[in-house]
């Protein structure tokens, strides 16, 4: 896995120094090699983590004719098959690397060639003859790609910190995008929290020429299809076999592939499916000092079953508080939970064990319908058919047994009032996600400065920005398909694969691979009838059918535990790190001008008096969101961004320029 950076300037000569400065900022993504290419109007940079063809896969890579130049971050797992097809059409290859296959695939087919590629990537391809730049991103947005378009061309990079090494790129917050994070856990697709800086959306390509800019979607999650009727066993067999193929394909690498083992079904199944193909596999787990979050028992059980070389880290609240600034620096947007931080610490461990590539279970809950949110929406849809019912909402208390309020008998009254808010409009495109999206919105304004607060006025418009662009025919889809699409396109893409995925892993140059997001697996999953995905209130039924007998019954039958980490209380107490006090100091809050210092002070004093378990979701999210925003602005606007601590940049050596 790697980092890419570059720019096109149609008017001035391109500067090597700027490209070097940009690419240096991606050192953490790819410390094995470093390449710069100046080609006409284009400056292309690359920092490489060598995984396939360790000796000749250096980038940026050109083809012998000198017309096309590629800088690419990612993996295309079916490159061997694609290469054979390209050879049959007369292409000649000089390396055994997937990079060269991507280059020729795009030369041969243009962006239409993306559809045949199975993998995860951010691509920039310069056509020196036509003087055009093609940017492209994988289906789910696993690998990041950002850009800033200026009057003379474009600046692009894997990460925003690299973009900001270009002197033309402004450093300014986009207030609306920033506040969107407090609603969706991420800004909406295409946006970043910085003004003028965009991300290329998942499943899109874009082309820049002297005459303009074209952006086009080339893939969307194939939900909303007519399902194929099948029995429970048939559904389980399809899932198991497609997943086995997808996982096995993701073992293609010239370095050993490890696996994360969380203790739950999703990651366990992946590791179990390939344990014979990948003997002596290293597996990795996060343990928590706080028992409430810890899953050590299940993790050990699974590691024993696999016979893997198992490693772990143990994370405490104070570890999280110390590492959190670094997480924010990598995530490049605020976060509402601390849970991404342990994953960054785990990546550090993975790297220290000599592993660069890990299989991980993200996507299973979205593709196979695992989250409580899907059940929540299902119950509310059922209730919406009889909105006056006092009994139907009671089913919701089944979902939230840990909420003391909802667990008590006779709470129909509260459930009715709280969840009844959205019940009259089941045709609302955002129906499934309203309770989550509205968690903070009612009180957020109290914590904002007047300036930032004014950006909150249009929050209903944000919903439309996304919901109006849903696929044709969406309104006729089954409600589960609708909810799954929304979940995959907002929380999965913008948060789980990004703030909690690529960024914390690539902070230590570790590449995650996601079998549950394999396009053929997803296509098969989308054809499974919803009754096989989520019968009654049994989540991930088809996946569980596939896993039964493959992983130990104790893991199958354990209670589901969402991955969470110690949140707000981590930041307070006697060992609270100095940065927390600095970021929350009245003068600093007033100086940055985003939040209301008195309101934040009230929140902080309320939370610092409380222990874990006494703090509600909403207060927790507010505190973590405010703290991460304060640090982000400090880091990105006040001139941080230079390497700190563990990120020691080497002197750049331009290759082939």
């Amino acid at each position: 896995m790697c980092g890419i950076a570059g720019f096109i300037d149609y008017q001035r000569p391109v500067s090597t120094d700027i490209l070097k400065a940009m690419t240096r900022r991606l050192y953490h993504r790819g410390p094995d090699a470093f390449g710069l290419r100046m080609q006409g109007k284009a400056a292309l940079g690359h920092s490489r983590l060598s995984i396939i063809d360790l000796t000749t896969g250096d980038q940026p890579m050109g083809e012998p004719g000198g017309r096309w130049w590629l800088t690419y971050n990612g993996e295309v797992y079916n490159y061997i098959e694609l290469r054979a097809e390209l050879e049959a059409r007369g292409h000649v290859f000089h390396t055994t690397c997937d990079t060269e296959v991507v280059l020729h695939q795009l030369m041969e087919y243009g962006p239409a060639g993306l559809e045949a590629m199975n993998g995860q990537w951010a691509i920039a391809l310069w056509d020196n003859r036509e003087e055009s730049l093609l940017l492209a991103r994988d289906r789910f947005g696993i690998r990041p790609l950002h850009y800033w378009r200026g009057p003379r061309g474009i600046v692009f990079a894997s990460e925003i910190k690299a973009l900001m090494a270009h002197p033309d790129v402004p450093r300014e917050m986009d207030n609306e995008s920033l506040l969107q994070v407090f609603r969706y856990w991420t800004c909406l697709p295409g946006r970043t929290v910085f003004k003028g800086i965009r991300e290329l959306k998942a499943g899109h390509w874009a082309k820049l020429t002297r005459d303009g800019w074209t952006e086009q979607r080339w893939w969307r999650l194939p939900f909303g299809q007519t399902p194929t009727e099948m029995t429970e066993d048939e559904a389980a067999d399809i899932v198991r076999e497609k997943l086995r193929t997808a996982t096995s394909l993701r073992l293609r690498a010239d370095v050993p592939v490890g696996a994360y083992v969380s203790g739950g079904i999703d990651s366990s199944l992946l590791a179990a499916l390939i344990k014979d193909e990948n003997p002596g596999m290293k597996t990795f787990s996060i343990r928590f000092a706080d028992q409430v979050f810890d899953e050590t028992g299940y993790q050990n059980q699974m590691a024993e079953h696999l016979g893997s070389d198992h490693h772990h880290i143990t994370v405490s609240g104070s570890d999280i508080a110390s590492a959190f600034p670094r997480l924010v620096r990598h995530a490049e947007k605020p976060v509402l939970r601390t849970a991404p931080t342990p994953l960054m610490l785990l990546a550090e461990k993975v790297r220290s064990e000599g592993i660069k590539v890990v299989l991980t279970g993200e996507g299973a809950d979205e593709v196979m319908a695992g989250y409580d949110l899907f059940k929540d929406a299902k119950i509310r849809h059922w209730w919406a058919r009889r909105p006056e019912s006092r009994l139907r909402p009671l089913l919701l208390s089944r979902l939230y047994p840990t909420s003391p309020l909802l667990a008590k008998a006779g709470r129909a009254d509260y459930l009715h009032k709280y969840y009844g808010r959205w019940i009259d409009n089941p045709a609302d495109r955002g129906f499934s996600h309203r309770p989550r999206w509205d968690t903070i919105v009612g009180v957020l304004g109290n914590y904002l400065s007047p300036d930032l607060g004014s950006a909150l006025a249009n929050w209903e418009g944000w919903d439309s920005e996304y919901l109006d662009g849903l696929p044709v025919g969406f309104d006729d889809w089954g409600q589960l398909d609708k909810a799954q699409l929304l979940e995959a396109e907002t929380l999965l893409g913008g948060y789980l694969l990004s703030s909690q995925g690529d960024r914390p892993a690539m902070a230590h140059s570790v590449e995650g691979r996601f079998p549950y997001l394999d396009p053929e697996f997803v296509a098969a999953a989308a054809k499974i009838p919803w009754r096989r995905r989520l019968p009654v209130l049994h989540e991930k039924q088809a996946l569980k059918g596939a896993a039964r007998g493959v992983i130990p019954d104790q893991i199958m039958d354990r209670p589901k535990q969402p991955y969470m980490a110690p949140d707000a209380p981590s930041f307070f107490g006697d060992d609270s790190p100095a940065w927390v006090g600095e970021m929350l100091a009245t003068e600093r809050i007033d100086g940055l001008g985003l939040f209301d210092s008195a309101a934040v002070g009230t929140l902080v004093s309320k939370l610092s008096r409380k222990r874990r378990g006494q703090i509600g979701f909403r207060d927790n999210m507010l505190l973590v969101g405010i703290l991460s925003t304060q640090y982000l602005v400090h880091e990105f606007l006040e001139g941080g961004l230079e390497p700190t601590g563990d990120e020691i940049f080497r002197e750049a050596v331009p290759l082939g320029s």
Binding site: K408, R411, D413, G442, V443, F617
Partner: protein, 79 residues
């Protein structure tokens, strides 16, 4: 009593900002002032500060959905 309840609500859920448009009769849930965990914090407060013991079947929106309703409930209990 209403003042005591109101002060708690403002401090705990409205970031200390006493918004005059927020009336003592306004529903906590409708106005999104309190979420489900918030109701629990409110009950803790009443039990600790006013020495009232809240029974399960009293945890209803009739008793706990506005400043005025909570105040009336507490006054009934301590009467």
């Amino acid at each position: 009593m209403q003042d005591s309840i109101r002060k708690f609500i403002i401090e705990n859920f409205l970031a200390g900002k006493d918004d005059p448009t927020f009336k003592n009769d306004d529903s906590f849930l409708d106005s999104r002032v309190i979420d489900s965990t918030g109701i629990l914090e409110l009950i803790d407060f009443i039990e600790d500060e006013h020495g009232v013991s809240v029974e399960d079947d009293e945890m209803t929106t009739e008793n706990f959905d506005s400043v005025a309703k909570v105040a009336a409930y507490v006054e009934r209990k301590i009467a």
